[in-house]
Symmetry: C2
Subunit: 576 residues, 2 copies
């Protein structure tokens, strides 16, 4: 297939290109990044040291005409969790890499000189340039300036000041089709990129070899089935396109699983001010775009462009988890304030989930009052951006803030902030938080689908029964989906519509001339989880890391549910 | 024997007294605190939460006429390391507890009200008082004011602002015989006491039952042998009394094992400005006391009273490790500046080893220039004292500073700062740092004795051979000694003079009417280490935590030694 692996060695400032080893040929996205990290990164190494590597890999279907296939995976040992990490994002970089026939970019080493570099990938190869032009600049300036200079089709990966300062909540930004920002959000990839002194990477696919499809007819047919399923399913075809992921505020509030004031309550007092329905109306009233794709070929279009009262762009990719974090965990009722925080997090370059959770912990610590959106914005935009001592505390994540202030109410697992679904009121997601190799991560096994949205059946969120199996099945499936380059939201139709699930592996078969079955997909998912789990065990994790914080023994209103899954019950997760 | 266990429940603000359970009867000091913590504290609990306990226990010989027997152990789950912790200190509290026939004080729970309390122990029992008089005050003011009020013989345990702010480097101070300060230094006991909202504890032994000796004649005879050995041995009888522990600066500098500029070099440029010989002369010239005991009955008297140029008291218990930390790791050449830092750390209430190591990491981070003693003092005395954001970063220890600033050169094991002996140039102490249940702790198995001082034989510090066995034997012996209430420095004569070692267990036999043998002492030490190790394993530690930081692969001049003990070699430690 002519695909290649690119290596960039920042210690020697040299690059190399090689063919794809046989054992990596069938892998893409998370499957490939996790396999490479597990093979090449010493599990106990310093995450910000010379032995860590930063790996980018498009998914197996990325670059094809398959709907929603434009995701890029970033893999590394996480400075936030200390374990293996994969964070995937939309944007333009993944498809450009595929059109250059690049299966993975592996960045190694640490430069000797204390300066900044940029990396440029095009049809002729890879170059490393000393480049201090954008040092200290925010991601918006980097991406917009470079887009103007290099054209709108360029792929760009960049870090903001938070990444330059090697903060554990720092993310890696990706230029989206409109020169706005998507993010490899979780786990501190921006700090790893910063430790390697890389401010940005450009990917220019002009003149690249493009990609070949082994069986174009079959591919087209399956892609059509797949796209139809996405449009037919009520979640991916109606809910997400209309209201974005923020459709969930009212749903979780009604379920009593919307963690409010740092997980004290399961409902919020002001859902109508921040919910997806309101957001949609505000966007439309101000002339923004309520439904926008994060990469070419997206037909769900759960993103949007949120404008301020003057009609000026504020943010896109304004997600439920971010709005939950500031709107509920922090109890901020002004959606415009939350949008400004989202803008600032993207620009400074911190994960917007970690940013939201750390802000609620900062309120817990008394650093700012509950509900203060203006001060939240200032803390992100000034303190974190400038890496003041307070900014250093905040920028290293929710766990770090909690420990800095001697708190015990710190919502993290494996030191990663717990997102927008209370594990007591939705116990399946608690199993995912506890067991995911990634730390607390709802996307790793999104049981909300079945616990709340009744997609793929129904498992009562308040009962213990069936949650471990539910989370396990979803985590296995998700690991496989994360390897395809498909957006995780294809899981909604895939869970309910058998032809949709089949179409996923049949598209892979058509793309590569393979004969994968549904069993192979499950086997791949299991293999990825086990590879990641073994890395974490070798890094020093034990089942004691697969636990929720102590404070979840407190009942959460309105259901007054407690976290009552025992260690033994949780540990059953890995019994596969 | 009429001994009792006191329990103080801060959740209910109630106290209780009980007899000593049979299984605790033969235990004291570290053996007792570690046994109680292992039995009663859930290993995975939040160290600053309601399930942690703070246990104080005098040693088996404390309160007797045995020389150097006045040590008190404090045990808890450490907020710094996340593992079990025992920190022992001299001062007046231990002997007062024994004279009240109190074998241990176990403090449980967390108060509901956000206020401060003091605890008062006397012959009539224990009382808890709401007491905000000293909130925010330094340890010197607490201890001196209370001593004036209650008399010089009172025992006092207190925390400074760092403990009130629950900082992980916070220590617990103990009043010494002259109303100055000794410390349960390492591991954040002050934060645990602060989490329980206890500012201070007084122990008044007036009218207490005192203690009985089963065989007074035998005790007297063995105590005489023991005291003579302490005086006869060159280290405990000459080096320590004359120059204090700071006698070690020149010795370690000559050995090339004196870690300088955050472990970059094995020698310092200005040993003559900070060494024990110079310190002795300065103290004498200024009219201070160069040899002073930290508790009644001490005949080694390695402490001192260091005065400033005006002849005013600055600090006592001015230890080698503190002077190394500021003088070498931070490269500060002015002994008066270092003494001021020591005073400030005692007053603010942070461990002076962690304080020194964190300051060198702060210099690594560029927070202050290398060698800047004035700014070091200001950071402790203002930033940490007031818990500014920078003070919060610093007050949580060396590992926290390093992570806040995204560093990789962070000298910690199990998140506790590595003290004053380079593990590459003195490999035995590297094994102790790596394997100790306490985190990096030289006192846990002080191989400097045999690697450098040639006490108890000689094992070449630069070779790998014999280091694991040396560290293991010393850690076992130390765990036993830490249970007796004897100062760890009795190990020097005990290693070289057989009658001294015998006298230790024969004094215990005479005190309690027992028939312990040397084998029993070894068995006790092994049992304590295993109890602590099992707690740590249950808390989530693995052998990956028994490793030194990555940067010790760099050679250290002058020997250009590297840390080359493999994981397998280190893991042999626990094979007993």
């Amino acid at each position: 297939m002519g695909e290649k692996i690119i290596r960039v060695n920042m210690s020697t400032l040299s690059t190399s290109t090689s063919t794809v080893p046989d054992e990596w040929a069938g892998l893409g996205g998370r499957g490939l990044t996790s396999t490479i990290v597990a093979k090449e990164v010493p599990p106990t190494c310093e995450p910000l040291g010379k032995y860590n590597k930063l790996v980018f890999a498009p998914g197996l279907l990325t670059g094809t005409a398959a709907a929603n296939s434009g995701r890029l995976s970033a893999g590394f040992k996480s400075p936030l969790t200390g374990g293996i990490k994969e964070a995937n994002a939309g944007g333009t970089a993944a498809q450009n890499l595929v059109r250059l026939a690049i299966k993975a970019v592996i960045i190694e080493g640490i430069p000797k000189e204390d300066t900044w570099y940029s990396i440029h990938i095009n049809k002729d190869g890879v170059t490393i340039s000393e480049d201090t032009e954008f040092s200290g600049k925010g991601n918006y300036e980097v991406i917009r300036t470079l887009s103007e200079r290099l054209g709108k089709k360029i792929g760009i990966l960049s870090i903001g000041p938070a990444g330059e300062f090697r903060m554990a909540a720092a993310n890696i930004s990706v230029k989206d089709p409109d020169c706005n920002i998507r993010s490899h959000g979780r786990g501190g990839g921006g700090a790893v990129m910063g430790s390697k002194k890389i401010k940005y990477i450009t990917i220019d696919d002009t003149g690249g070899p493009g990609l070949t499809i082994a069986d174009p007819e079959k591919f087209k047919q399956q892609a059509r089935i797949f796209a139809k399923a996405l449009l037919d399913h009520p979640v991916s075809g109606q809910g997400l396109p209309t209201y974005g992921t923020n459709v969930l505020i009212n749903i979780l509030n009604e379920a009593g699983g919307l963690p409010t004031k740092n997980f004290r309550y399961g409902t919020v007092d002001h859902p109508e001010k921040i919910c997806g329905e309101t957001m949609h109306d505000v966007i439309v009233a101000r002339g923004g775009n309520p439904s926008h794709g994060c990469h070419a070929g997206c037909i769900i279009k759960c993103s949007q462009m949120y404008l301020n009262e003057k009609g000026e762009y504020v943010t896109s990719g304004f997600e439920y988890e971010t709005i939950w974090g500031f709107g509920c965990a922090c109890n901020i009722s002004d959606l415009d304030d939350i949008a400004l925080c989202d803008n600032a997090m993207d620009d400074v370059g911190i994960d917007s989930i970690e940013g939201a959770v750390l802000m609620s912990v900062a309120m817990e610590a008394g650093i700012l009052p509950w509900g203060d959106g203006k001060e939240s914005y200032r803390l992100i935009n000034e303190e974190i951006r400038k890496a003041t001592p307070l900014g250093r505390i905040l920028g290293n994540g929710a766990g770090f803030v909690g420990r800095a202030y001697g708190l015990t109410r710190i919502p993290v697992v494996k030191n990663q902030g717990i997102p927008a679904y209370d594990p007591r009121a939705v116990k399946g997601i608690g199993i995912t938080y506890a067991t995911s190799t990634m730390g607390a991560d709802h996307t790793a096994g999104y049981t909300i689908a079945t616990n709340i949205l009744k997609v793929g059946g129904f498992v009562d969120p308040l009962q213990k029964e069936g949650q471990v199996e539910l989370s396990r099945n979803l985590q296995i499936a998700t690991a496989a989906v994360d390897s395809t380059g498909l957006c995780i939201f294809v899981a909604f139709p895939a869970l309910d519509i058998p032809a949709c699930f089949e179409a996923i592996y049949e598209m892979i078969n058509a793309r590569y001339g393979l004969n994968l079955t549904a069993d192979d997909v499950v086997a791949l998912g299991k293999q990825i989880l086990k590879t990641e789990h073994e890395f974490n065990l070798a890094a020093g994790f034990t089942n004691k890391d697969d636990r929720l914080p102590e404070f979840f023994e407190e009942p959460i209103p309105p259901h007054n549910a407690v976290w009552d899954m025992t260690g033994e019950e949780i540990d059953e997760f890995w019994n596969f």
